[in-house]
């Protein structure tokens, strides 16, 4: 108390600077940090703003980096949405992402329930063989998976695209960790009430694991929506191409920058929308993977 008073009343700068420097051991001045954060954010966001500006610039009009566009237009977006196979690519991406997410989450929840709550021989072997597949790069299994899908006629089909991606170890593992933390009493109560296994799973487990399901849903959607390699090799014809593959092919064709950026912007909007709505779950989900995992 006296020290603060002294520091406040005395005109000398030295003690104040000393106190501030001591505090700086943990916390440098806020204004500097804010500036740093602003600059860093500018670096991360600027390329995406450039996409938006280029996508909305009239075709052949001077635009960044040479000049700011005089007017903005939605023409490019409309043109791209009407372009040949673009609607098909969009639909394929939606099916690929949405169907995969739903099936992965449902089957993984079932497996996770068994792995977390049921005792049976070989349980740990199963769990660790599933988790061990995380160490194998997707490229290692790319060729055999492609050959397998090709032999059953799945190349250039939507089901051929979706099926192999349904094996997702992260989903099984994370949901299992979550179910393990649920209190035993809940399951005992369900048993006492005479609920069968399926009922326990549907009306007790599924509602309780909603947080981890929400988080996984976002990430699985993002990963599938943005995936390139597998859709590239299995969806070679337009009928089975996803938006990401289509976007990559537009990049090699002679499409104007504004049209290419319009396509890029359209591919990005669903991801941005999901993020804006469900931000909280994303942060919680990443925290869970990194700190506990």
């Amino acid at each position: 108390m006296t020290q603060t008073l002294q520091a406040a009343t005395r005109p000398a700068r030295r003690p104040a600077a000393k106190v501030r420097r001591a505090a700086a051991g943990r916390r440098p001045p806020r204004a500097g940090l804010m500036t740093l954060l602003c600059v860093a954010s500018l670096f991360t966001v600027a390329p995406l703003i450039a996409v938006v500006i280029l996508a909305l610039s009239p075709q052949d009009a001077p635009t960044i980096p040479n000049a700011w566009p005089r007017e903005l237009t939605f023409d490019n977006l409309v043109r791209i949405l009407r372009l040949g196979s673009f609607p098909r690519w969009l639909l394929n991406s939606f099916c690929y992402s949405a169907i995969s997410v739903v099936v992965i989450l449902f089957t993984s929840s079932m497996a996770a329930y068994a792995l977390a709550r049921k005792r049976f021989p070989g349980r740990n072997v199963v769990l660790w063989s599933i988790v061990a597949t995380l160490m194998v790069p997707v490229q290692t299994t790319l060729i055999p998976t492609f050959v397998l899908v090709a032999h059953v006629g799945g190349v250039n089909t939507l089901w051929g695209l979706i099926l192999p991606t349904l094996a997702n170890a992260q989903a099984v593992f994370l949901i299992r960790q979550f179910i393990r933390e649920l209190p035993n009493e809940l399951f005992d109560a369900a048993r006492v009430d005479g609920a069968g296994e399926w009922r326990t799973f549907v009306s007790i487990v599924l509602p309780l694991i909603r947080p981890v399901i929400a988080t996984l849903a976002i990430f699985l959607f993002l990963w599938h929506w943005n995936d390139l390699l597998w859709p590239l090799v299995v969806g070679q014809s337009d009928s089975a191409r996803t938006l990401t593959v289509g976007l990559a092919s537009l990049n090699t064709e002679t499409v104007s920058t504004s049209n290419l950026m319009a396509a890029a912007l359209i591919s990005f909007l669903p991801c941005l929308l999901i993020f804006v709505i469900l931000q909280r779950h994303i942060v919680a989900g990443i925290a869970a993977t990194g700190v506990k995992g």
């Binding site: 051991g25 709550r117 790069p137 055999p144 397998l148 094996a167 920058t257």
Partner: protein, 295 residues
């Protein structure tokens, strides 16, 4: 006593039934392909069903193939650029966010994270434009009487560094949030004690923050190394393995062997080699971090 055995058996049966869908999916699309990769790498494999067992020939060929060693060199160089950069950027971002507690953190966190939402293809397209000879970076350099710099068509180190910049920009958000969660879990008392003892910010970072962060650090290091070795999308979109194979990574080599030359057995062998490299490196990284702990 007599009811226990049947109820145990029933528990086992329900457990297996709940596990069944995932077991089938993993069996067909993970376990069989993993074994298949090992098996196919020992064959000359054509898609028309023409399969010949050739033992270790693919591996002998791989070890004698200049293209393979070149792609290994490219990939290691890329990883050496990408992994440290991504760790510095994501840890820096996390520490910044952690230091500025308060209402604005949410917005900044979102702004820093937002590139993670886009695909590597989208990132590649935007940054190809940014790096163009008549793009914004070169326009800025021109103002400074510098350049033009040929980011994607110049020397190998420059091209790989440019690709690494794109991957860091796109991907660091995830690791940043992992680090941030780790930082938030650290006990504040330790820091207060250190400040009272007169520790410098550098000492605090090296002696307290990093050691406490070790498990998280290991997780991020291994994850980003695996991601680095799998680099494909940005190369496919931005350079196509060029110029003059400057960005011809292992994964690009694998893609070429498999889907350009339809040499499936050989491509499978490349896939197995990639797995072994990643595995050995993960083990070495764990050893390295454990040694640092005992030292």
């Amino acid at each position: 006593m007599s009811t226990q055995t049947p109820s145990r058996r029933r528990e086992a049966i329900t457990g297996l039934l709940f596990l069944l869908p995932v077991l089938v999916i993993f069996g067909a699309f993970k376990f069989i392909p993993i074994l298949g990769a090992a098996g196919m790498s020992l064959t000359r494999y054509r898609l028309n069903g023409d399969v010949t067992f050739i033992g270790g020939d693919n591996y002998a060929r791989l070890l004698a193939d200049a293209n393979f060693w070149h792609s290994v060199g490219v990939t290691f160089l890329y990883v050496a650029l990408f992994v440290p950069a991504t760790i510095v950027v994501s840890l820096g971002g996390a520490m910044l966010l952690n230091a500025v507690a308060g209402g604005a953190t949410g917005i900044f966190r979102a702004l820093l994270f937002v590139p993670y939402l886009c695909s590597f293809v989208l990132a590649g397209i935007v940054w190809s434009w940014i790096f163009r000879t008549d793009g914004p970076v070169n326009a800025a350099l021109h103002e400074l009487q510098l350049g033009p710099v040929h980011f994607l068509t110049g020397k190998q180190l420059l091209v790989l560094a440019s690709l690494a910049v794109v991957s860091v920009w796109k991907g660091f958000g995830y690791s940043m949030l992992v680090f941030l969660a780790g930082l938030k879990a650290q006990p504040a008392e330790v820091y207060e004690a250190a400040v009272l003892d007169g520790a410098s910010p550098r000492q605090v970072f090296l002696r307290i923050t990093l050691p406490l962060l070790k498990p998280v650090f290991f997780f991020v290091l291994v994850m980003e190394t695996i991601i680095g070795f799998q680099v494909f999308d940005t190369i496919y979109v931005m350079t196509g393995g060029g110029p003059a194979r400057a960005s011809f990574s292992i994964t690009y080599f694998l893609y070429d062997a498999g889907f350009k030359f339809l040499d499936f057995g050989y491509a499978a062998a490349i896939g197995v080699a990639l797995f072994l490299i990643v595995l050995v490196l993960s083990i070495l990284q764990r050893r390295w971090l454990e040694e640092k702990e005992t030292a």
